[in-house]
């Protein structure tokens, strides 16, 4: 490449309903690297963007939750395949956004790819772990199965802008929920680029919606939204988390509280189980 060539910069956009809109508010904010150098202008999503994202997530819920677990697993694995192919881009964005060395950033991206693979394998197994045939004392067949909760609002971690994001997002959609994610405020670019990966991974539009901006601005609208069924508060500070949990009580959202996280550790099943309902079916047995 000639040294004099001027690079083409990417316009980062939101990812809502399978499309890439700018914020309806027309606002952007400056994203910088750890040293304060300008990287990009990210959309500053508004409450109306959040509203649109919830509509998109709800619309996608029927199809996604009704897809076979096998099909969901194939798609999550496809996400890993697509992400692997764009590894260099994500390494750069993570290194710049989180101030990591290239090799550390590479390890983070690799772990994020592997995390998609981990959850791809869970789609058709979590029900086998969490469900049960119950030996009730009577002539009844009694079977408990898991079902997704619905639309889940996710406040992604502020520090781990990519591995953390994937770690909270993948379990939500693995089980058939749809998601509205608010990215790390400081480092939103990997999350916005992830939208481009999701859009080319056979994932139906609206299953994941990515909003960049302030958790403190958008969070309250999501927490209070009556058509949101659950909220993951990982990216909220203690004060915001309490406020949002309080707001979430209005329609009894399932709430996952923030806690200490080691994103490099094996995730376990907690985050899968957090957004699952259990349905028990009774049926008589007799000639």
């Amino acid at each position: 490449m000639s040294e004099s060539r001027l690079g083409v910069l990417k316009t980062y956009k939101l990812f809502v309903g399978g499309k890439f809109p700018r914020s309806e508010s027309g606002r952007v904010y400056e994203v910088t690297d750890a040293k304060g150098n300008w990287l990009a202008n990210a959309p500053l999503a508004s409450r109306k963007d959040a509203r649109d994202a919830v509509v998109a997530a709800r619309k996608a819920f029927g199809g996604w939750s009704g897809a076979t677990a096998y099909n969901r697993g194939q798609i999550l694995y496809r996400i890993a395949e697509m992400l692997e192919g764009r590894r260099e881009q994500f390494v750069r964005e993570v290194a710049e956004g989180e101030g990591l060395s290239k090799s550390k950033a590479a390890a983070v991206v690799d772990a994020a790819v592997d995390r998609w693979v981990w959850y791809a394998g869970w789609t058709d197994k979590i029900g086998q772990i969490a469900g049960a045939a119950n030996p009730v004392a009577g002539p009844y067949f009694n079977l408990s199965t898991t079902e997704p909760t619905g639309v889940v609002a996710v406040l992604a971690p502020q520090d781990s802008s990519f591995l953390g994001l994937v770690s909270v997002l993948a379990p939500v959609i693995a089980t058939g929920n749809t998601a509205v994610v608010v990215t790390s405020q400081k480092s939103p670019l990997p999350a916005l680029s992830l939208g481009e990966v999701l859009a080319t991974s056979d994932l139906p539009g609206g299953v994941v919606n990515v909003l960049s901006g302030k958790a403190a601005e958008i969070g309250p609208h999501l927490a209070a939204h009556s058509d949101v069924n659950a909220i993951d508060l990982t990216g909220a500070d203690a004060e915001l988390a309490t406020a949002l949990e309080t707001a979430a009580a209005e329609n009894l959202k399932r709430v996952l509280r923030p806690r200490d996280e080691d994103w490099s550790a094996e995730p376990g099943t907690d985050r899968l189980l957090a957004f699952l309902e259990t349905k028990t079916v009774w049926h008589p047995i007799g000639v």
Partner: protein, 476 residues
Amino acid sequence: MAFEYAPAPESRSVVDIAPSYGLFIDGEFRPAEDGKVFKTVSPSSEEVLSEVAQAGQSDVDAAVRAARKAFEKWSALPGSERAKYLFRIARIIQERSRELAVLESLDNGKPIRESRDADLPLVAAHFFYYAGWADKLGHAGFGADPKPLGVAGQVIPWNFPLLMLAWKIAPALACGNTVVLKPAETTPLSALFFADICRQAGLPKGVVNILTGDGSTGAALVAHPDVNKVAFTGSTEVGKAIARTVAGTGKKLTLELGGKAANIVFEDAPIDQAVEGIVNGIFFNQGHVCCAGSRLLVQESVQDELLEALKRRMSTLRVGDPLDKNTDIGAINSAEQLARIKSLADSGEAEGAQRWAPACELPSTGYWFAPTLFTGVSQAHRIAREEIFGPVLSVLTFRTPAEAVEKANNTPYGLSAGIWTEKGSRILWMADKLRAGVVWANTFNKFDPTSPFGGYKESGFGREGGRHGLEAYLNV
């Protein structure tokens, strides 16, 4: 003019079969040490497809040695890395599924519609499913950190060559074992193509070893002292011999053996779908299915109506070239199997059952048997008791649910059963009483990698598929 379907042959050129194949040991193809070979033929044309090596004792030794050597590193890999190898294999199978489907139809004789729409999708799904378990074994209910067994010696049948390979290899590898697998004598090719898939996936040498050969190869493999686990799918007779061989050795054993499944139709059944289920139950894969619904138990009050509908439906079955996309019933896998089917069918007539088959023209070369129905069959007849493993249905009747259960269970086998009724509580009552490992209600011959499969009684023990399928390959 009638609506006659023109030939719609799947292209043979999508698969390139070499004139000869060696044994796949330690990541390489090599001839048998004593140089012995045998031919594999296409049962629909009797054409020789290829010549493959006949593994002897020293080849078995070499393969087990290779597997033992590979076990150390393979079992020590993080589960997430083993998972990724298996995901790769699943994807490559998906990519090459058309080629493999044609190969399977050529070597086995099954219709391309089945190898394309049933076998291959299930093969890929099975690898995909167990890939996901490789890094989740601690969540499977067998303790926090269950360990693999070591080297698995696996012997599979000819009815679903690649699918049975998947059922054996996928869980074994996911759990951290290495394998030596022997495909059936009449259908070795897809396993040898699978060896090439292992190469494409970059699977470490020695993790999968494929030994072609006959029964003696299988016997040597299961008897090998350095094999830790034996898995066999095939006849009950051979299964019993294997059980005797491994007795006292400490080898873990799972057996998937014969069956004589009852497909039970009540008077309130959804009749058109029941007819489809009966047809699918016994004529799928030429009836070469251990869980085939080979005994139709029909409630006397709907017997006439059902049999009339069944015969009408059987008359539309298309028997012929396995590579024709419109073929419903392909070739019988071997001359030997054809002779067995003929002899049992003849015994049916000799013992007084009434034989019926639709008018159907069979090709002049190859091994063929028309879809056949016997009525007036009683529990004492050989065709009601012995596994025919062919497209032959024995029809018996019953009057009450209890009688249906009694007759269904009156067999040494216990692999599968079918129930057809619109009444939910009766389905569950019947399912409760039937002594069979898989019970299908208002459907038949359905398989899924998440669903455990395996038999009661002389149909074997152990389960393949699902979370349960892990147990056979873990030290628990």
